[in-house]
């Protein structure tokens, strides 16, 4: 349930004044939310009791055909396990968001979300308003709220339920790092954000398990050359520069504004 207005939220993070909050919501297990945020907004996702799995898709709010590309995100950074300081890259070579904080470390960029057929086979139902909603069905609804269609739902990332790859390529589900873990994503462009909270497709439990996910967003500044992550690698610096270059050409507020 959202708190409106967001600055009336009673429990802001210790380092954030409530007056800066622009979104505050608790997403129940098996549900979704979606929002459009300004560049420089921090989105903090918190797995309140340890059984949330936050499936996330990001789009350039001004150009939704530009969206999160999970393959480029892992390939360009040479890293399958996303965490602190990871860049979330678009299919146009720009940074959409940066993971600026991560207290969990157990996430997944390989398995995507669940499908209707998967959840029907697994739990007996996968319909979006049923007892065990499939992630793809919920993403379809979230996308529709922004004029996007089923074909606009590409492979997604998920936070709080980890997967690891063995030397042979086999996957191992490592699950949750426990209750209260959070990640913070910093929007580097104006973003449309779709968030689905539903069981990870490799969750081995026979009972559908999905618990509350907290989302708090607040105003701030996007990454700049003063941040160590900006120039942490040649790839990172070029990605930040590409985002900056897009903003400048587009006449949107960037570093030089």
């Amino acid at each position: 349930m959202p708190t409106v207005p967001a600055n009336s939220w009673s429990r802001p993070p210790l380092d954030v004044d409530a007056s800066r909050l622009v979104w505050a919501e608790t997403i129940a297990g098996g549900n979704y939310t979606s929002l459009t945020v300004a560049r420089g907004t921090t989105l903090e996702l918190t797995d309140l009791t340890g059984d949330a799995c936050a499936h996330v898709l990001l789009y350039n709010a001004d150009l939704p055909s530009e969206r999160l590309n999970v393959a480029d995100t892992t390939k360009v950074q040479w890293q399958a396990y996303l965490g602190q300081d990871a860049l979330l890259l678009s299919d146009l070579g720009r940074v959409l968001a940066t993971v600026v904080s991560d207290t969990s470390g157990q996430h997944d960029a390989l398995c995507g979300t669940s499908t209707l057929s998967h959840n029907v086979a697994r739990y007996g139902d996968g319909s979006p308003q049923g007892p065990s909603p499939a992630g793809r069905e919920l993403f379809t609804l979230a996308a529709a709220k922004h004029g996007l269609e089923r074909r606009d739902v590409p492979p997604s990332l998920s936070f709080f339920q980890g997967v690891r790859v063995s030397g042979t390529g086999a996957l191992r589900f490592v699950g949750s790092a426990g209750p209260g873990k959070s990640v913070r994503l910093l929007a580097e462009l104006p973003l449309t954000v779709l968030i689905v909270d539903t069981a990870h497709p490799l969750d081995p439990r026979t009972e559908y398990t999905s618990s509350d996910l907290q989302l708090l967003c607040w105003r701030g500044s996007a990454s700049s050359p003063a941040d160590a992550r900006w120039s942490a690698s040649p790839e990172a610096e070029r990605a930040y520069r590409n985002s900056e270059s897009y903003l400048v050409a587009r006449g949107l507020p960037g570093l030089t504004a």
Binding site: S65, D72, C111, G169
Partner: protein, 222 residues
Amino acid sequence: MTASVERSVSETIATGRVVLDDLVPARAPWSGIVRAGQYLSIVDLGGNQAVDCLLYRADDTTERYSAPDTIAAQSSIVLTATSVLRSNEGRPMMTVVADECGVHDTIGGACSKESNSLRYGHHTVHQHACVENFLIEGALWKLGKRDLVSNINWYMNVPVEADGTLGIVDGQSAPGLRVVLRADMDTLVLISNCPQINNPCNGFDPTPIQLIVTEPASHEAV
């Protein structure tokens, strides 16, 4: 292992009618529909040639290949014989029925002008790239940028190390190796014969590939 795989590949290719036999030049795109029950053989003529590949359900392209659903269902990132290539609805689109190479990638995605600018610098954006091939060939089927998703890279090996580090490992394939797919539904296959020259995925020298579609004898009789 190699002997039995080779035998099954030749049997698959030798059986039935050849519906199509195309040579795809280095750096070029290709597309075509492989009907349910037909086989598509992808031949790495020169060796070490990455073949980027996307699949779409022929009569409803909103259903398309899904790397994550394929990976999750088989609980492995490696594509090889018996791998089922699944759609974003979880359904089997094609099955790898024979594989002389042994390992193929589906986590590394396709090269693009834009990602080349990140990986190799802005001086590389003029170079050919797989996404350009997918866009120009996909346009023939009314597919656009919104329809491009994480793809398969035949003959490319992208292992994940214990700390999550990715690699692109060279030397996995060799001249003449084949991978054979059986279509489980009528499938539009979109291919980019990868033009990348900045990493070892094509041995720094893109080469032609051969695509052969066959229809088994039993299928012909129906």
